[in-house]
């Protein structure tokens, strides 16, 4: 890979005495969709959260467009402007309406005039099919709607990378589809995405590459066809036999 947009090298992470990531190496190319699967507690989310420094690695480094996140001279807020994140529990801001949720960062961080930010927000709400919810309060939305607003909020910063941390795990089953279809559309437009998920169908259909993690290590990686049809590692086989 000549110019990876994300490069992770020798990443270790512990919470106290409990080591959750061991020597993670990973490269993600521009426009690539990488899906991370694995059992609960395997370190998938922690790895994802290291990519925008919501968790600070103990050793190793993460490079976003060549910038080291561990370098004290790197301004982490500038890196985060280019890396959107969608959370399992949406994390919409309940003290503002949908529109303000989306325009907050473009106005405060990018310094856009309000009209420009609002135009962008409306465009994104149309894209996720929630134009009529612009003035709604986050608490009045269903889970699926809230997650689509959260995706629009992240996209409003026009990020180069999108991180998804189990975006459908907190949703009722009938709402999973609407969120996945927004993510598929995003992938087809060429967004670079790293997606932690339990949705094997999505991994298979949308992923360019799939990583299987267990006990803090990337056990196996490959194309969806390779990993789902012919897993080489016994642990991958055992996991897939349980979830497929």
């Amino acid at each position: 890979m000549s110019d990876p947009i994300i490069r992770v090298s020798g990443l270790n992470k512990s919470f106290g005495a409990n080591q959750v990531l061991y020597d993670i190496d990973l490269e993600v190319a521009r426009q690539e969709v990488v899906v991370v699967i694995g059992p609960s507690g395997s370190g998938k989310s922690t790895m994802l959260r290291c990519l925008n420094l919501l968790e600070k690695p103990n050793s190793g480094d993460v490079f976003i467009e060549g910038k080291s996140l561990m370098d004290a001279r790197t301004k982490i807020t500038e890196v985060r402007e280019e890396v959107g994140m969608v959370f399992q529990r949406f994390n919409l801001f309940p003290n503002m309406n949908v529109l303000d949720n989306i325009t907050l960062a473009p106005i405060r961080v990018r310094g856009w005039p309000a009209e420009k930010a609002e135009a962008k927000a409306m465009e994104l709400l149309r894209k996720v099919g929630l134009e009529e919810k612009a003035q709604a309060h986050p608490d009045s939305l269903s889970g699926g709607q809230a997650q689509r607003v959260a995706i629009a909020r992240a996209l409003a910063m026009e990020p180069k990378i999108m991180l998804f941390d189990e975006p459908t795990s907190a949703l009722d089953p009938e709402m999973v589809g609407e969120v996945l279809s927004v993510m598929k559309e995003l992938a087809s437009e060429g967004m670079t995405m790293v997606v932690v998920t339990h949705e094997m169908g999505f991994a298979r259909e949308v992923g360019d590459r799939v990583l299987f993690m267990e006990q803090g290590r990337i056990v196996e990686r490959g194309t969806p066809a390779e990993l789902f049809e012919n897993p080489r590692q016994e642990r991958t086989q055992a996991f897939l036999s349980k979830v497929l």
Partner: protein, 215 residues
């Protein structure tokens, strides 16, 4: 039992002036306490021990020693050392402010820490600085949760301000004691003082309920 209303009438103007002192001292102390408490509360949440440790000690000291003792120490030690001589009113406001800062610090801390960490993470992930995240996301939510606790603290402060009668600040309790001394009677002065405090705190709690609904 004979309850002499005429001596209450004689003292009524003094009690009213005393109520003015009580309200004034309490208002000033809750405001100063809230400002100082903000510093101490954030100090206690800071990552560096050189902020956390002094803030912690401050809170432990003022919550762990009697308010009466704090008032006496302020009156006889702290204020004379700053002004050269003591001043009862300054000592009262200083002691009550220092004391309520310890409690308001914990109100700030509890309010801010009650906000789901996911809110801060979402703000950070959008590129907001810690200050922006606090200003636009955390504080607006936290302040709403702090209001009832602030109301309680204010009511406690109004009642506790009666202790400054010990250093001869002419507030409600001071005139109650004066009246007791003059007439050698206990029912009338204590009931009058209790009634005034009750009316003050009752009105205050209604006002706070109203504000709480508005926010």
């Amino acid at each position: 039992m004979d309850f002499k209303f005429d001596i209450i009438r004689d003292y009524f103007p003094l009690f009213m002036r005393g109520a003015g002192y009580t309200v004034g001292i309490s208002l000033l102390s809750i405001l100063l306490g809230a400002l100082l408490g903000l510093l101490i509360g954030f100090g206690k949440m800071a990552s560096g021990w050189y902020f956390r440790w002094p803030a912690s000690m401050y809170i432990n000291f003022f919550r762990g020693t009697p308010l009466l003792l704090q008032i006496l120490m302020t009156h006889f030690i702290l204020i004379p050392n700053i002004l050269g001589k003591t001043n009862a009113l300054a000592a009262a406001v200083t002691a009550l402010s220092l004391n309520s800062a310890a409690y308001t610090a914990e109100i700030y801390r509890a309010g801010i820490q009650s906000i789901d960490p996911g809110q801060r993470e979402a703000a950070y992930s959008l590129g907001l600085t810690p200050f922006q995240a606090m200003r636009h996301v955390i504080l607006p939510q936290a302040v709403k949760r702090m209001i009832p606790a602030f109301g309680n603290e204010f009511i406690v402060l109004v009642k506790d301000s009666s202790l400054v009668a010990y250093i001869a600040v002419p507030e409600i309790m001071y005139w109650g004691n004066a009246m007791k001394g003059q007439y050698m009677r206990v029912w009338e002065p204590y009931f009058t003082a209790a009634l005034i405090y009750f009316v003050l705190t009752y009105l205050l709690s209604k006002l706070l309920q109203f504000i709480g609904r508005k926010v």
